[in-house]
C-alpha cells in the first residue's frame, strides 16, 4: 500500500458534512469523483469508521453559527408544513431539503431519493398543484404551501386514477421511480400536456425509469388522462 493514498481525515472537511441527509449523498449517490476522493480519506483512519464523529463535529459547527451575532434564523428552525391537507410542525436544520423533511423527519418515504441532484425526478411532489423536484428545494421555503405527495393521492382504499392506470398498464418494473412518475403524471394531465404520445413523452421527460417501462408509462398516462378532465383555463 502506498501511504500517499491515505491522508488522515481533516476535521475541517468533516465539519462541512450535512447531518440531514448529505451523508448518503457523499457515500452513495454523489458523483464518482466525489465518492472516490471521500472514501480515500475515510479509509485512512479507523476513527472514521463509525459515523458518530461526523455528526458530533457537524453539530459543533452548527452551534458556532447559531452564536453569530445578528443571525436571522437559528440553525434549528421551526417550520410549519402542510402536507396532504395536514399541518406538521418541524424543528429542522435550514439545510434540510423538502425531500429529506418528508423522508427523514416525517417518515413519508413514498417520495424517493434517486440522484438527489434534480436529474431523475424520483423525488417529484406537487406544491400548490405544480410538480417540482423536492430534492432541490429547501423545506423551510415551503411554509404556507400546499404540498401533495404520493401518499396523498388515494382516497382511502380508492386509488387515484393515475395510480390505477399505472397498475393496469404495468407502468413500472422495480417501482423505485414510480411515485415520482405518478406525481409528475398527475400534474402533466392537469397541465393538458397529454394530447399525443410524443407530447406525453416530452412532458414526462423529467422522470427517468432505468427499467425502461416508458411505453407502459405513456399508456398509463393516456388512459388516466381519458378519465381525468384536463384543466380548462
Amino acid at each position: 500500500m502506498n501511504d500517499e493514498d491515505f491522508q488522515p481525515i481533516d476535521p475541517g472537511e468533516l465539519a462541512g458534512i450535512d447531518p440531514t441527509g448529505g451523508l448518503d449523498d457523499l457515500l452513495i449517490f454523489g458523483s464518482p469523483e466525489t465518492r472516490r476522493h471521500f472514501l480515500k480519506q475515510v479509509a485512512g483512519t479507523s476513527a472514521a469508521l463509525t459515523l458518530g464523529p461526523f455528526v458530533g463535529l457537524a453539530a459543533a459547527e452548527v452551534a458556532e453559527v447559531a452564536g453569530t451575532p445578528g443571525a436571522v434564523s437559528t440553525p434549528t428552525a421551526s417550520v410549519q408544513l402542510k402536507i396532504n391537507g395536514q399541518a406538521h410542525s418541524l424543528a429542522i436544520d435550514p439545510r434540510t431539503t423538502l425531500l429529506d423533511a418528508l423522508r427523514e423527519h416525517l417518515q413519508m418515504t413514498g417520495s424517493k431519493k434517486g440522484c438527489d441532484h434534480g436529474q431523475c425526478g424520483a423525488c417529484t411532489v406537487l406544491v400548490n398543484g405544480r410538480r417540482i423536484n423536492s430534492c432541490l428545494s429547501l423545506a423551510i421555503v415551503h411554509e404556507g404551501d400546499e404540498i401533495t405527495t404520493i401518499e396523498g393521492l388515494a382516497k382511502g382504499d380508492e386509488l387515484h386514477p393515475v395510480q390505477a392506470a399505472f397498475l393496469e398498464h404495468d407502468g413500472f418494473q422495480c417501482g423505485y421511480c414510480t411515485p415520482g412518475q405518478i406525481c409528475s403524471a398527475v400534474a402533466c394531465i392537469a397541465e393538458g400536456h397529454t394530447k399525443s404520445d410524443a407530447e406525453i413523452r416530452e412532458w414526462m421527460s423529467g422522470n427517468l425509469c432505468r427499467c425502461g417501462a416508458y411505453p407502459n408509462i405513456v399508456a398509463a398516462v393516456k388512459e388516466a388522462q381519458s378519465k381525468t378532465p384536463a384543466k380548462t383555463s
Binding site: G16, D18, G22, D25, S31, E33, T34, R36, H37, E61, V62, V65, T68, G70, A71, V72, S73, P75, A77, D93, P94, R95, T97, D116, H117, G118, G121, T124, R130, R131, I132, N133, L136, S137, L138, I140, V141, S184, A187, C188, E191, H193, R201, E202, W203, S205, G206, N207
Partner: protein
C-alpha cells in the same frame, strides 16, 4: 452542504439591504442550480436570503408599445406559457421549453436562469483540483481533460467553460435588457454586457455586482414574432443541455432580400454568443442556403476546438444554416 443562516425578504429593497449587510450572502430563488452547487460544495454561502416571496413575478406590457417586462422571479414555466410571450416572443417560449424538465421549469426563475453557472465537469466537482472559475489560479482541468461540452468561441487559456442556459440565448437574440437594483438605486444592463467572456478572470460570470438584485428583464418590441426559431442540438431528445443551439429570427422582403436578422448561439461560449459577423453578412442578401452557409462560415472562422469538441465547429455551422432555412421558410 455548509451551514448557513436563512432569512426571507419581503421586497426588493429588503433583499438588497440583506445582501449588503454581510459577506458571503446569496439570494435564493428557485434553487435549482444554487442548492445543487451547495450540495456539491462548490457554492458555500454563509447566508441565504430567500427572495421567492418578493413580488417580482409579473409578466406585463410596457407602456407606449415599448415591449414586455418579465419580473425576475417569474418561473420559467409561467413565462413560457404566458400569452404575451407566446404571441410576441415565441423564440423565448421555445427556448425556455427546450430547457430542463417541467419540474425544474416550475421552480427556476428568470433571474436565476440568467445567473446559472457552467456545467463544466471540472467546475462542478471540487474533487478536481484544477478550475480557475471555482479556485482562481488553480489552472483549467478541461483544457487538457475531457472537453466535449466546452467552448469553441471567445474562450481563454484560463477557462473554456460554456454558459448552459437556453433562455439566455433567446434573450441575446431579442436584445433584452436586464434591470437590477443595488444600494445606490436601479440600473439597466443590456444582455450583451450582462454575461462576461472568461479572459483572465473566469471566476466572474457576469457584470452583476455582488450587492445587486435582478428585478426584471425587459424585451424591446421586436418585429420578429412570426419568423423566429430556437434549434437545440443535444445528446438525447429531451432534458439535456445544448451541445450547440441557435436562436434565429429573420425579416425578408417581397424580393427575398433579408432586411433584418438576429442570430445567437448557445453551448459554444462562456456567454450567449451573438453571431454579429453572420448577421452583417446576411443583411441585404437573398435568403437562400448558399448565403446562410457563407454567413455561418464567417461566424465560425475564429472558432477553436480541443481534443473532444472540434465537432462543434461544423455542427454550429450546420445548425445556423438549418435554423435560418427554417425561419426563412416560415410564412409571415
Amino acid at each position: 452542504m455548509n451551514p448557513f443562516t436563512y432569512s426571507r425578504a419581503n421586497d426588493a429593497a429588503g433583499a438588497v439591504t440583506a445582501i449588503a449587510a454581510k459577506p458571503k450572502t446569496k439570494f435564493l430563488g428557485g434553487g435549482t442550480n444554487l442548492i445543487d452547487l451547495m450540495k456539491m460544495g462548490v457554492e458555500t454561502p454563509a447566508q441565504l436570503v430567500d427572495i421567492t416571496r418578493v413580488p417580482l413575478a409579473q409578466v406585463e406590457e410596457l407602456p407606449d408599445g415599448k415591449g414586455v417586462r418579465i419580473g425576475a422571479l417569474a418561473r420559467n414555466s409561467d413565462v413560457a406559457e404566458h400569452p404575451l410571450i407566446q404571441q410576441r416572443y415565441p423564440l423565448l417560449s421555445q427556448a425556455l421549453l427546450a430547457g430542463a424538465s417541467p419540474q425544474l421549469r416550475n421552480m427556476a426563475t428568470v433571474g436565476g436562469n440568467l445567473m446559472q453557472r457552467t456545467r463544466c465537469y471540472y467546475f462542478y466537482d471540487p474533487a478536481f483540483p484544477q478550475c480557475n472559475k471555482r479556485n482562481p489560479g488553480s489552472g483549467c482541468g478541461a483544457l487538457k481533460g475531457y472537453n466535449r461540452i466546452h467552448a469553441i468561441l471567445g474562450q481563454s487559456d484560463q477557462c473554456i467553460a460554456t454558459n448552459p442556459s437556453d433562455m439566455n440565448v433567446a434573450l441575446a437574440a431579442l436584445e433584452a435588457v436586464v434591470r437590477v437594483q443595488g444600494p445606490k438605486g436601479e440600473r439597466e444592463i443590456p444582455i450583451a454586457d450582462f454575461h462576461r467572456l472568461p479572459g483572465s478572470a473566469p471566476n466572474v460570470d457576469t457584470n452583476l455586482k455582488e450587492d445587486e438584485l435582478i428585478t426584471a428583464v425587459d424585451l424591446p418590441a421586436a418585429p420578429f414574432a412570426t419568423r423566429s426559431h430556437y434549434l437545440k442540438m443535444r445528446d438525447r431528445a429531451s432534458y439535456a443541455f445544448a451541445i450547440v443551439s441557435v436562436a434565429a429570427a429573420i425579416e425578408i422582403d417581397a424580393g427575398k432580400k433579408i432586411t433584418a436578422v438576429r442570430i445567437a448561439l448557445g453551448g459554444v461560449a462562456h456567454k450567449p454568443w451573438r453571431a454579429q459577423k453572420a448577421e452583417q453578412q446576411l443583411l441585404g442578401k437573398t435568403a437562400d442556403e448558399k448565403t446562410f452557409r457563407a454567413a455561418a462560415e464567417a461566424e465560425l472562422a475564429a472558432a477553436k476546438g480541443y481534443a473532444h469538441n472540434s465537432f462543434k465547429i461544423e455542427l454550429a455551422k450546420r445548425s445556423i444554416v438549418r435554423a435560418l432555412t427554417t425561419v426563412a421558410g416560415m410564412t409571415s
